[in-house]
Amino acid sequence: MSVGMYYGIWITLLILTGVTAGVSFIDLGPFNTIVALVIATFKALLVVLFFMHVKYASEKLTKTVIIAAIFWLMLLLGLSLTDYLSRNLL
Protein backbone atom coordinates (compact mmCIF):
# COMPACT_ATOMS: atom_id res chain seq x y z
CA MET A 1 0.00 0.00 0.00
CA SER A 2 1.28 3.44 -0.86
CA VAL A 3 1.61 6.17 1.74
CA GLY A 4 -1.04 8.12 -0.15
CA MET A 5 -3.53 5.31 0.29
CA TYR A 6 -2.95 5.26 4.08
CA TYR A 7 -3.57 9.00 4.29
CA GLY A 8 -6.62 8.69 2.05
CA ILE A 9 -8.19 6.05 4.30
CA TRP A 10 -7.32 8.18 7.36
CA ILE A 11 -9.02 11.29 5.96
CA THR A 12 -12.06 9.22 4.95
CA LEU A 13 -12.33 7.82 8.48
CA LEU A 14 -12.14 11.33 9.99
CA ILE A 15 -14.76 12.70 7.59
CA LEU A 16 -17.09 9.78 8.32
CA THR A 17 -16.65 10.43 12.06
CA GLY A 18 -17.75 14.02 11.55
CA VAL A 19 -20.68 12.89 9.41
CA THR A 20 -21.79 10.41 12.06
CA ALA A 21 -21.76 13.09 14.75
CA GLY A 22 -23.42 15.69 12.53
CA VAL A 23 -26.20 13.45 11.23
CA SER A 24 -27.15 12.53 14.79
CA PHE A 25 -28.59 16.04 15.20
CA ILE A 26 -30.91 15.62 12.20
CA ASP A 27 -34.25 13.95 12.82
CA LEU A 28 -34.37 10.82 10.68
CA GLY A 29 -36.69 8.90 12.98
CA PRO A 30 -35.68 5.24 13.27
CA PHE A 31 -33.05 5.73 10.56
CA ASN A 32 -30.71 7.67 12.87
CA THR A 33 -29.54 4.41 14.43
CA ILE A 34 -29.32 2.61 11.09
CA VAL A 35 -27.29 5.40 9.46
CA ALA A 36 -24.95 5.58 12.46
CA LEU A 37 -24.34 1.81 12.42
CA VAL A 38 -23.94 1.64 8.63
CA ILE A 39 -21.29 4.37 8.76
CA ALA A 40 -19.59 2.65 11.72
CA THR A 41 -19.54 -0.65 9.82
CA PHE A 42 -18.07 1.04 6.76
CA LYS A 43 -15.35 2.62 8.93
CA ALA A 44 -14.62 -0.76 10.53
CA LEU A 45 -14.39 -2.33 7.07
CA LEU A 46 -11.88 0.31 5.96
CA VAL A 47 -9.73 -0.39 9.02
CA VAL A 48 -9.96 -4.18 8.63
CA LEU A 49 -9.34 -4.29 4.87
CA PHE A 50 -6.66 -1.62 4.54
CA PHE A 51 -5.03 -0.79 7.87
CA MET A 52 -5.04 -4.44 8.94
CA HIS A 53 -4.09 -5.52 5.40
CA VAL A 54 -6.82 -8.17 5.18
CA LYS A 55 -7.49 -7.14 1.58
CA TYR A 56 -3.94 -8.18 0.73
CA ALA A 57 -3.86 -11.28 2.94
CA SER A 58 -2.81 -14.41 1.09
CA GLU A 59 -3.83 -16.91 3.74
CA LYS A 60 -7.42 -18.07 3.20
CA LEU A 61 -7.59 -19.58 6.69
CA THR A 62 -7.06 -16.15 8.25
CA LYS A 63 -9.90 -14.67 6.24
CA THR A 64 -12.09 -17.63 7.24
CA VAL A 65 -11.44 -16.93 10.93
CA ILE A 66 -12.42 -13.27 10.49
CA ILE A 67 -15.64 -14.15 8.67
CA ALA A 68 -16.42 -16.82 11.27
CA ALA A 69 -16.05 -14.32 14.13
CA ILE A 70 -18.38 -11.83 12.41
CA PHE A 71 -20.85 -14.61 11.59
CA TRP A 72 -20.88 -15.69 15.25
CA LEU A 73 -21.52 -12.11 16.36
CA MET A 74 -24.40 -11.77 13.88
CA LEU A 75 -25.91 -14.98 15.26
CA LEU A 76 -25.68 -13.65 18.82
CA LEU A 77 -27.12 -10.23 18.03
CA GLY A 78 -29.54 -11.30 15.29
CA LEU A 79 -31.14 -14.22 17.05
CA SER A 80 -31.38 -12.20 20.29
CA LEU A 81 -33.13 -9.47 18.33
CA THR A 82 -35.68 -11.92 16.86
CA ASP A 83 -36.68 -12.71 20.42
CA TYR A 84 -36.60 -9.29 22.07
CA LEU A 85 -38.11 -7.33 19.19
CA SER A 86 -40.98 -9.74 18.66
CA ARG A 87 -42.18 -10.17 22.22
CA ASN A 88 -43.08 -7.75 24.97
CA LEU A 89 -41.63 -9.42 28.03
CA LEU A 90 -41.68 -6.47 30.39
Binding site: M1, V3, Y6, Y7, I9, W10, L13, L14, T17, G18, T20, A21, S24, F25, I26, D27, N32, T33, A36, L37, I39, A40, K43, A44, V47, V48, F50, F51, M52, H53, A57, S58, E59, L61, T62, V65, I66, A68, A69, I70, W72, L73, L76, L77, S80, L81, Y84, L85, L90
Partner: protein
Protein backbone atom coordinates in the same frame (compact mmCIF):
# COMPACT_ATOMS: atom_id res chain seq x y z
CA UNK B 1 17.32 -25.41 6.86
CA UNK B 2 17.57 -28.37 9.24
CA UNK B 3 21.14 -29.18 8.18
CA UNK B 4 22.45 -25.63 8.73
CA UNK B 5 25.58 -25.97 10.78
CA UNK B 6 26.02 -24.20 14.10
CA UNK B 7 28.89 -22.17 12.67
CA UNK B 8 26.70 -20.68 9.93
CA UNK B 9 23.82 -19.94 12.34
CA UNK B 10 26.00 -17.80 14.58
CA UNK B 11 26.77 -15.59 11.56
CA UNK B 12 23.11 -15.08 10.66
CA UNK B 13 21.68 -11.74 11.64
CA UNK B 14 19.30 -11.76 14.55
CA UNK B 15 16.46 -10.79 12.22
CA UNK B 16 16.93 -13.76 9.90
CA UNK B 17 17.02 -16.08 12.88
CA UNK B 18 13.79 -14.60 14.23
CA UNK B 19 12.18 -14.63 10.77
CA UNK B 20 12.61 -18.38 10.37
CA UNK B 21 12.58 -20.45 13.51
CA UNK B 22 13.58 -24.09 13.26
CA UNK B 23 10.04 -25.43 13.53
CA UNK B 24 8.82 -23.59 10.43
CA UNK B 25 9.52 -24.56 6.83
CA UNK B 26 9.43 -21.12 5.20
CA UNK B 27 9.48 -17.50 6.34
CA UNK B 28 6.03 -17.01 4.82
CA UNK B 29 4.62 -19.95 6.76
CA UNK B 30 5.91 -18.50 10.03
CA UNK B 31 4.47 -15.08 9.23
CA UNK B 32 1.10 -16.55 8.30
CA UNK B 33 1.06 -18.59 11.51
CA UNK B 34 1.66 -15.48 13.62
CA UNK B 35 -1.07 -13.58 11.82
CA UNK B 36 -3.54 -16.45 12.06
CA UNK B 37 -2.85 -16.77 15.79
CA UNK B 38 -3.50 -13.06 16.39
CA UNK B 39 -6.71 -13.18 14.35
CA UNK B 40 -7.88 -16.19 16.37
CA UNK B 41 -7.26 -14.16 19.53
CA UNK B 42 -9.13 -11.17 18.04
CA UNK B 43 -12.02 -13.55 17.27
CA UNK B 44 -12.20 -14.36 20.99
CA UNK B 45 -12.14 -10.62 21.68
CA UNK B 46 -15.13 -10.21 19.34
CA UNK B 47 -16.94 -12.73 21.51
CA UNK B 48 -15.75 -10.96 24.66
CA UNK B 49 -17.08 -7.55 23.66
CA UNK B 50 -19.98 -9.11 21.77
CA UNK B 51 -21.55 -10.23 25.02
CA UNK B 52 -21.62 -6.68 26.34
CA UNK B 53 -22.92 -5.34 23.03
CA UNK B 54 -25.75 -7.91 23.22
CA UNK B 55 -26.63 -6.84 26.77
CA UNK B 56 -26.62 -3.21 25.60
CA UNK B 57 -28.89 -4.15 22.68
CA UNK B 58 -31.51 -5.82 24.87
CA UNK B 59 -31.61 -3.15 27.57
CA UNK B 60 -31.76 -0.38 24.98
CA UNK B 61 -34.83 -2.04 23.44
CA UNK B 62 -36.45 -2.26 26.87
CA UNK B 63 -35.45 1.12 28.31
CA UNK B 64 -35.01 3.34 25.25
CA UNK B 65 -36.05 6.60 26.98
CA UNK B 66 -33.54 6.11 29.78
CA UNK B 67 -30.81 5.11 27.32
CA UNK B 68 -31.49 8.19 25.19
CA UNK B 69 -31.43 10.47 28.23
CA UNK B 70 -28.21 8.96 29.53
CA UNK B 71 -26.64 9.21 26.08
CA UNK B 72 -27.48 12.91 25.91
CA UNK B 73 -25.61 13.53 29.15
CA UNK B 74 -22.36 12.33 27.57
CA UNK B 75 -20.03 14.96 26.10
CA UNK B 76 -20.38 14.52 22.33
CA UNK B 77 -17.44 16.86 21.62
CA UNK B 78 -15.03 14.85 23.75
CA UNK B 79 -16.40 11.61 22.32
CA UNK B 80 -15.89 12.79 18.74
CA UNK B 81 -12.39 14.06 19.54
CA UNK B 82 -11.52 10.72 21.13
CA UNK B 83 -12.77 8.89 18.04
CA UNK B 84 -10.52 11.10 15.90
CA UNK B 85 -7.59 10.51 18.28
CA UNK B 86 -7.90 6.73 17.87
CA UNK B 87 -8.25 7.02 14.10
CA UNK B 88 -5.03 9.06 14.01
CA UNK B 89 -3.32 6.44 16.17
CA UNK B 90 -4.39 3.74 13.71
CA UNK B 91 -2.74 5.77 10.94
CA UNK B 92 0.52 6.06 12.90
CA UNK B 93 0.46 2.30 13.58
CA UNK B 94 -0.14 1.46 9.91
CA UNK B 95 2.64 3.85 8.83
CA UNK B 96 4.84 2.28 11.50
CA UNK B 97 4.41 -1.19 10.00
CA UNK B 98 5.35 0.29 6.65
CA UNK B 99 8.43 1.98 8.16
CA UNK B 100 9.55 -1.35 9.63
CA UNK B 101 9.00 -2.99 6.25
CA UNK B 102 11.29 -0.40 4.66
CA UNK B 103 13.91 -0.71 7.37
CA UNK B 104 13.51 2.89 8.55
CA UNK B 105 14.30 2.42 12.23
CA UNK B 106 14.11 6.06 13.37
CA UNK B 107 10.83 6.67 11.54
CA UNK B 108 9.41 3.49 13.08
CA UNK B 109 10.35 4.65 16.59
CA UNK B 110 8.83 8.11 15.98
CA UNK B 111 5.58 6.58 14.71
CA UNK B 112 5.38 4.15 17.64
CA UNK B 113 5.96 7.03 20.07
CA UNK B 114 3.22 9.05 18.34
CA UNK B 115 0.88 6.08 18.68
CA UNK B 116 1.67 5.95 22.39
CA UNK B 117 1.03 9.69 22.81
CA UNK B 118 -2.32 9.41 21.02
CA UNK B 119 -3.30 6.34 23.05
CA UNK B 120 -2.46 8.13 26.29
CA UNK B 121 -4.38 11.21 25.08
CA UNK B 122 -7.42 8.99 24.55
CA UNK B 123 -7.12 7.61 28.08
CA UNK B 124 -6.67 11.14 29.49
CA UNK B 125 -9.83 12.39 27.76
CA UNK B 126 -11.68 9.29 28.97
CA UNK B 127 -10.58 10.13 32.51
CA UNK B 128 -11.94 13.65 32.13
CA UNK B 129 -15.27 12.24 30.92
CA UNK B 130 -15.51 9.76 33.78
CA UNK B 131 -14.72 12.50 36.28
CA UNK B 132 -17.56 14.55 34.79
CA UNK B 133 -19.89 11.60 35.36
CA UNK B 134 -18.68 11.50 38.95
CA UNK B 135 -19.44 15.18 39.59
CA UNK B 136 -22.84 14.83 37.90
CA UNK B 137 -23.75 11.88 40.16
CA UNK B 138 -24.20 9.55 37.20
CA UNK B 139 -22.08 6.74 38.59
CA UNK B 140 -24.37 3.85 39.61
CA UNK B 141 -24.53 3.38 43.35
CA UNK B 142 -25.70 5.19 46.44
CA UNK B 143 -24.90 8.66 45.01
CA UNK B 144 -26.77 8.07 41.75
CA UNK B 145 -29.05 10.98 40.87
CA UNK B 146 -30.49 11.69 37.44
CA UNK B 147 -32.87 14.55 38.15
CA UNK B 148 -30.71 16.70 35.85
CA UNK B 149 -31.59 14.48 32.86
CA UNK B 150 -35.25 15.52 32.78
CA UNK B 151 -34.73 19.27 33.26
CA UNK B 152 -35.19 20.17 29.58
CA UNK B 153 -37.74 17.45 28.91
CA UNK B 154 -40.87 18.10 31.02
CA UNK B 155 -42.85 15.17 29.57
CA UNK B 156 -39.99 12.69 29.98
CA UNK B 157 -40.38 10.09 32.69
CA UNK B 158 -37.18 8.35 33.78
CA UNK B 159 -36.98 5.30 36.03
CA UNK B 160 -33.70 5.69 37.94
CA UNK B 161 -33.28 1.90 38.13
CA UNK B 162 -33.36 1.68 34.32
CA UNK B 163 -31.07 4.70 34.05
CA UNK B 164 -28.53 3.00 36.29
CA UNK B 165 -28.42 0.14 33.81
CA UNK B 166 -27.42 2.51 31.01
CA UNK B 167 -24.61 3.97 33.07
CA UNK B 168 -23.54 0.54 34.32
CA UNK B 169 -23.17 -0.55 30.71
CA UNK B 170 -21.45 2.75 29.85
CA UNK B 171 -18.79 2.23 32.51
CA UNK B 172 -18.48 -1.51 31.84
CA UNK B 173 -18.00 -1.08 28.10
CA UNK B 174 -15.80 2.02 28.11
CA UNK B 175 -13.94 0.61 31.12
CA UNK B 176 -13.23 -2.69 29.41
CA UNK B 177 -12.20 -0.76 26.30
CA UNK B 178 -9.88 1.41 28.41
CA UNK B 179 -8.29 -1.68 29.96
CA UNK B 180 -7.60 -2.92 26.44
CA UNK B 181 -6.08 0.48 25.60
CA UNK B 182 -3.81 0.26 28.66
CA UNK B 183 -2.68 -3.21 27.60
CA UNK B 184 -2.07 -1.79 24.14
CA UNK B 185 0.02 1.03 25.59
CA UNK B 186 2.06 -1.53 27.50
CA UNK B 187 2.57 -3.62 24.36
CA UNK B 188 3.64 -0.60 22.36
CA UNK B 189 6.07 0.55 25.07
CA UNK B 190 7.75 -2.84 24.64
CA UNK B 191 7.63 -2.63 20.82
CA UNK B 192 9.07 0.90 20.88
CA UNK B 193 11.97 -0.23 23.04
CA UNK B 194 12.73 -3.22 20.81
CA UNK B 195 12.37 -1.07 17.68
CA UNK B 196 14.79 1.50 19.09
CA UNK B 197 17.27 -1.32 19.70
CA UNK B 198 17.02 -2.26 16.03
CA UNK B 199 15.26 -5.61 16.42
CA UNK B 200 12.87 -4.97 13.48
CA UNK B 201 13.66 -4.57 9.81
CA UNK B 202 12.57 -5.73 6.35
CA UNK B 203 13.37 -9.36 7.19
CA UNK B 204 11.44 -9.44 10.44
CA UNK B 205 8.78 -7.03 11.66
CA UNK B 206 6.02 -9.45 12.63
CA UNK B 207 5.61 -8.15 16.25
CA UNK B 208 4.93 -4.67 14.86
CA UNK B 209 2.27 -6.11 12.54
CA UNK B 210 0.72 -8.22 15.30
CA UNK B 211 0.73 -5.33 17.79
CA UNK B 212 -0.81 -3.21 15.06
CA UNK B 213 -3.61 -5.73 14.55
CA UNK B 214 -4.44 -5.56 18.27
CA UNK B 215 -4.39 -1.74 18.24
CA UNK B 216 -6.63 -1.53 15.16
CA UNK B 217 -9.07 -3.92 16.79
CA UNK B 218 -9.36 -1.76 19.90
CA UNK B 219 -9.96 1.18 17.55
CA UNK B 220 -12.78 -0.72 15.81
CA UNK B 221 -14.44 -1.45 19.16
CA UNK B 222 -14.47 2.29 19.87
CA UNK B 223 -15.81 3.02 16.35
CA UNK B 224 -18.91 1.08 17.42
CA UNK B 225 -19.01 2.29 21.03
CA UNK B 226 -19.11 5.95 19.98
CA UNK B 227 -22.45 5.97 18.08
CA UNK B 228 -24.04 3.39 20.39
CA UNK B 229 -23.24 5.28 23.60
CA UNK B 230 -23.04 8.94 22.54
CA UNK B 231 -25.49 9.26 19.64
CA UNK B 232 -28.63 7.40 20.70
CA UNK B 233 -30.88 10.48 20.44
CA UNK B 234 -29.34 13.89 19.81
CA UNK B 235 -32.33 15.36 18.02
CA UNK B 236 -32.76 19.00 19.02
CA UNK B 237 -35.69 19.92 21.24
CA UNK B 238 -38.73 21.16 19.37
Amino acid sequence: MSDTSVAVETHESEQEHLALRHHFVTVEQQRNSSHLAMWLFLATEVMFFGGMFCAYLIYRIWFYAEFAAGSRSLDITLGTINTAVLICSSLTVALGVRAAQMGKRKLLVVLLLLTLVLGLAFLGIKGVEWYAKYTEHHIPGSTFNVSDLVQDYPTLHIDPRHEQIFFSLYFAMTGMHAIHMIVGVGLFLYLTYKAWKGTYGPEYYTPIEIGGLYWHFVDIIWIYLFPLLYLIDRKPLH
